[in-house]
């Protein structure tokens, strides 16, 4: 996560790492094949139903997340770059049931789409997965909102904003 913190000032990007005790091929398959994706992808607590999944540049992955309380949300990928088993790039956004882009339901001026890149690196039989998220085709306001949220994420609960977290805890 140090990498993510460094990126905070340099570039507006959200970076996330995880090492899996599995081969790159397995991680790649789990990330790119619908029969695997439906078992793990999606918002916490939701079940994913896949309406469409076409793994090719420009191809659409369109899915619905169903929550226990009955709510449902559609979202989509548009694949941009597919280099098995090392690199997957897609545009990520919320959508309607027909696959048309929609605004973020909570933060309407969040960038309509983000460009997400997953890279897989083999490390002694394990696989290091890195996800990078950057705003895509965003105006100043959208980019600013992404940057603000990101800064809150990186700082807010890390170093100097710990004070703030403590303060909020005392007040609640």
């Amino acid at each position: 996560m140090a990498q993510a913190a460094n990126a905070a000032n340099a570039r507006t990007e959200f970076v996330f790492n995880r090492t899996f005790d599995a081969s790159r091929e397995d991680v790649w398959n789990a990330f790119t094949q619908p029969e695997h994706l439906k078992h793990w992808w999606g918002a916490p607590g939701s079940t994913v139903e896949i309406a469409h999944h076409e793994l090719k540049p420009g191809g659409l992955f369109h899915y619905r997340m169903k929550f226990p309380d009955g709510r449902a949300m559609w979202a989509r990928f548009i694949f941009r770059e597919i280099v098995a088993p090392e690199r997957l790039v897609w545009l990520n956004g919320f959508s309607d049931e027909h696959g048309g882009l929609t605004r973020n339901p909570w933060v309407p001026n969040f960038p309509l789409e983000t460009l997400n890149t997953v890279t897989l690196a083999a490390e002694n039989g394990k696989t290091l997965l890195t996800i990078t998220v950057v705003p895509f085709d965003a105006g100043d306001e959208e980019a600013g909102i992404f940057a603000g949220g990101l800064a809150g994420m990186k700082m807010g609960f890390g170093a100097s904003f710990q004070l703030l977290a403590d303060y909020l805890a005392r007040r609640s």
Binding site: W40, F110, I145, G149, A151, M153, F161
Partner: protein
């Protein structure tokens, strides 16, 4: 509520404003005190305070000339929980992926033939 998150994140986009909020987390402060750690003119600091005030992140006293600033924790708490959700989305997804990979049948990576054909089929670039 949606507009509030927009306003909060827009305000947080600036490092000086984040530092001001961190300072105010220690307690109410006059503008003069607030400006000290920043090598910045008072009008520049005032500008940032106006943005923070408009976003509802701080409140300023009316009485004293110094118009002391204090943190308004409500919107920040809301933003923090949204951010936490966003972070948790990725964390939880990777947790589930980790669990799933443990259960998943490993691909036959030893078979060079299968490997090669798999690669050539899926390798593509925009």
């Amino acid at each position: 509520m949606n507009d509030q998150l927009n306003a909060t994140f827009a305000a947080l986009a600036d490092p000086t404003r984040r530092a001001i909020l961190a300072r105010l987390a220690l307690g109410e402060t006059s503008v003069t005190e607030l400006a000290k750690p920043f090598e910045m003119s008072m009008p520049a600091v005032s500008k940032h305070l106006k943005v923070l005030e408009r976003a509802g992140l701080i409140a300023r006293g009316r009485e004293a000339q110094s118009r002391p600033c204090r943190l308004e924790p409500g919107p920040l708490r809301e933003a923090a929980s949204w951010i936490e959700e966003y972070r948790r989305f990725w964390e939880a997804s990777l947790d589930r992926l980790e669990d799933y990979l443990r259960k998943m049948k490993p691909a036959k990576t030893k078979g060079p033939r299968a490997n090669r054909s798999n690669r050539s089929k899926t390798k593509s670039k925009e």
